[in-house]
């Protein structure tokens, strides 16, 4: 399958600050790819360079077979991180205007606008001014403006930020629908769970560099699980019962669960068997690392301790929000 996007050794600086360095990327057509990274990691800059809104200092790009997105803007849908609407413009007129800029003909455009507004549950706002809409409504209008011309490549910069659980679910469905239709989709997010749940490909960016690029499954499999979680029948079981098992380096308690961290040489399967023998258990399983764990693990190797704590805090905050939204959405 041909690549929708190819980046070769891309570098971008702002003054003395290096925003993106040595970025190599190949995104096949039809893939749903997540860019993840903390604030300032370089995801938005990379996306802007893909969109030819910013231009790389060095390196090569190929977007939908062209040397720059300028030559294929009409085949690209883009939802920027900085959302914007003409406040005084009516919603229908705004969508029509954006569609015309994206090369759609006048014929049938009104019907298309109405159909899409109905699809996102905003039929009644067609003749309302954009400033009269709630933030969530505005975000849905912006999403519609980015895909109304049925682009081959859809780039969404933090599409879920600011959305409530119901609208997050609707947006996920719409993204999934576009993916099933064969479109290439890239979206950036700080929310690892979101990327894990949606993407068939995850690209992690940290300090302007790509640090991971693979499917979520492959990424997890590459990171050998080293923790066994056990839930004894008796909640009062002494942690030392499990600490004595050969190969267990340490034990952490998480409510009713005990995390048995294996030493480097130990086999987690042997620890599972020994744990079953040590005490009657309700549950025993190998803890698979989440993308968040993996990302944090990678980042921790490059950051000083105080910055590491800040990063962990910034990552955990949206995680908690997202977890509740996923539960609320019924996924």
């Amino acid at each position: 399958m041909a690549d929708a996007i190819t980046l070769r050794n891309i570098r971008k600086t702002f003054g003395t600050k290096v925003a993106v360095e040595g970025m190599d990327l190949s995104i096949p057509e039809g893939s749903l790819c997540g860019f993840i990274g903390p604030n300032g990691a370089g995801t938005t800059t990379t996306i802007r360079m893909i969109m030819s809104i910013l231009f790389a200092d060095s390196g090569e790009l190929s977007i939908l077979g062209k040397a720059s997105a300028v030559e294929s803007k009409d085949r690209i849908g883009y939802l920027p991180e900085e959302r914007g609407l003409y406040k005084k413009m009516k919603v229908g007129a705004f969508l029509t205007y954006m569609a015309r800029l994206k090369g759609l003909d006048e014929a049938g455009l009104d019907a298309k606008v109405k159909t899409w507004l109905a699809r996102v549950g905003l039929s009644e706002v067609l003749k309302k001014k954009c400033e009269e809409l709630s933030k969530g409504m505005q975000q849905k209008v912006q999403f519609v403006s980015s895909i109304i011309h049925e682009p081959d490549l859809i780039i969404l910069d933090e599409p879920f930020s600011g959305l409530d659980p119901v609208n997050s679910r609707l947006l996920r469905e719409l993204i999934d629908e576009q993916h099933r239709a064969g479109r290439t989709i890239i979206f950036s997010t700080h929310q690892m769970l979101q990327a894990e749940a949606l993407c068939d490909r995850v690209i992690m960016i940290h300090q302007g560099r790509k640090v991971l690029d693979d499917s979520p499954q492959n990424i997890r499999s590459k990171f050998d699980p080293r923790t066994v979680a056990v839930e004894p029948l008796d909640p009062a079981t002494d942690p030392a019962t499990f600490a004595r098992i050969p190969g267990v380096a340490s034990v952490d308690r998480r409510g009713r669960l005990f995390d048995l961290h294996a030493s480097n040489a130990a086999d987690p399967r042997a620890i599972m068997a020994a744990a079953c023998a040590a005490a009657p258990l309700n549950r025993v399983e190998v803890v698979r690392p989440s993308l968040e764990d993996i990302f944090i693990d990678i980042v921790q190797q490059t950051l000083p301790p105080d910055e590491r704590e800040k990063l962990l805090a910034s990552l955990r905050s949206p995680m908690a929000t997202l977890a509740s939204s996923l539960e609320g959405g019924g996924d």
Binding site: I53, Y78, G84, L85, Y97, M98, L101
Partner: protein, 465 residues
């Protein structure tokens, strides 16, 4: 190209369909058509009735000016003088009106002017002749006294002792001194100056055994009407009108250019602050966006230019002054508008893209405004000497040239065709260069938020882009 058209169309409609534009553009002609005649009507209203005393100290030889002063300042003489002035005004106004308006309208206008002129009140002045050599300082305090109208001293006139007979040691005759009460109506002051002058000159003539009435008759000389001979025949010359036409063209150019430019600045800042820029840039290139916005606002400015030109020329046709318009200049005015607007618009687009709000724009606009208003400040010298070094040099200064050229080509002594062509070409080159620089700033500026840039930053952006 089609995308540029869509951007231009949106910007044009978003501008001209706003209440601010509609009211702003319509209010100006309304003010000019309603308020100007109203102001003229108010000016023609009768002055306040003035009553009071005028004290005269006649120090002339043998107080020979006193009889003449008593005669020229008598109520009958004052009334006759005012009547004479009024008739002159009516006659001059009737002449202008007859040339400017159709007969039926001319009749109405003449009647209105005559009624206004006839309503002028005659001041009730009581003349008191004080003994010669009275100390004026002893009288002047009365100018400060507040007594009831009719009794208060309005003015003290002191005739010099050599006002009638020239001192052998001097080249000229003496004159008179006049002290007046604060806030005395200037028309009364004018009346007093005129009548005292008349009395003193008549007294001099009589002392030389001349008949003042005969001399006045000999001195009377009515200025002839000057006609301008055109292809359509004779028309009135109107030196002042010839002066106002270049001013009118220039101001028209200025208003239309700056209105469009101002809208471009505010719409660019608004789009940036609404964070719509990045959405637009995903669909169009920065150059397409900037050019589209400039064309859209240029159409808005052109609409103002055409509308106001139409109104102005219609008024000139109604007032039979259309011969003052060189129709070829109208075509040139459109070309000059494109150059003026191109320059201003590039500056506004660059500034608008670089700043976060209108307040930040002010600091970058100040130097630009200082340059652009210079033709307004130097309008009179340029009109009076359109082929002078200053006018010629300014025709080639970026941002100023088209305005100056407008003044020059609509003046009574327009520059040579080659100079016009050269100025147009040079100013077009400036616009192209500026457009390239502005596009570079625009491309970077629209995505920059936070600290507003200074000129050094803008230069760095130009180098970066």
């Amino acid at each position: 190209m089609i995308k540029t058209f869509h951007v231009a169309k949106r910007d044009f409609l978003a501008t001209v369909l706003t209440k601010g534009f509609i009211i702003g553009v319509l209010v100006m002609p309304i003010i000019m058509t309603v308020a100007a005649p109203l102001a003229l009507a108010l000016i023609n209203r009768k002055p306040p009735a003035v009553a009071g005393e005028v004290a005269i100290i006649d120090n002339s030889t043998a107080a020979a000016a006193t009889p003449e002063l008593e005669r020229t300042l008598s109520p009958e003489a004052i009334k006759a003088w005012i009547t004479d002035q009024t008739e002159s005004t009516k006659k001059a106004a009737a002449k202008v009106i007859a040339k400017s308006l159709p007969p039926d309208q001319a009749q109405q206008a003449t009647s209105a002017v005559a009624a206004a002129a006839d309503s002028v009140e005659v001041p009730e002045l009581k003349i008191t002749i004080l003994p010669p050599n009275t100390d004026p300082a002893s009288i002047k305090p009365r100018l400060l006294e507040k007594t009831k109208d009719g009794e208060q001293l309005l003015a003290l006139i002191t005739i010099d002792n050599d006002a009638l007979t020239r001192d052998a040691a001097k080249d000229d005759f003496g004159t008179y001194a006049m002290s007046v009460r604060a806030r005395l109506d200037i028309r009364v002051q004018g009346l007093l100056r005129s009548k005292v002058r008349e009395a003193v000159i008549d007294a001099r003539l009589k002392s030389n055994n001349e008949d003042p009435a005969a001399v006045r008759t000999l001195m009377r000389f009515d200025a002839p009407d000057v006609e301008t001979w055109t292809a359509q025949g004779a028309t009135s010359s109107g030196e002042m009108a010839q002066m106002f036409v270049p001013m009118g063209f220039m101001i028209l150019l200025w208003i239309s250019t700056f209105t469009g430019g101002q809208f471009l600045l505010t719409s660019t800042i608004e789009e940036k602050s609404n964070r719509i820029m990045e959405v637009l840039l995903s669909a169009v290139s920065p150059l397409e966006l900037m050019v589209g916005k400039i064309i859209g606002q240029m159409c808005a400015g052109l609409m103002i230019l055409v509308l106001y030109s139409f109104l102005g020329i219609s008024a000139m046709i109604v007032f039979r002054q259309s011969h003052l318009v060189d129709w070829g200049n109208l075509v040139l005015m459109v070309a000059l508008f494109l150059l003026c607007f191109g320059f201003i618009a590039c500056m506004m687009a660059a500034i608008g893209s670089a700043v976060n709000d209108i307040h930040e724009a002010q600091s970058l606009m100040t130097p630009l405004m200082l340059v652009i208003v210079s033709p307004m400040l130097l309008m009179m010298p340029i009109i009076l000497d359109p082929k002078g070094v200053m006018a010629t040099t300014m025709s080639f200064i970026p941002g100023v040239g088209p305005f100056v050229l407008m003044l020059r080509i609509s003046s009574s002594d327009p520059p040579a065709a080659w100079q016009i062509a050269a100025s147009l070409f040079v100013n077009a080159v400036y616009v192209v260069i500026l457009a390239k620089l502005a596009a570079k700033i625009f491309r970077i500026g629209v995505l920059m938020y936070g600290k507003p840039p200074n000129f050094a930053t803008l230069l760095r952006w130009i180098k970066m882009a």
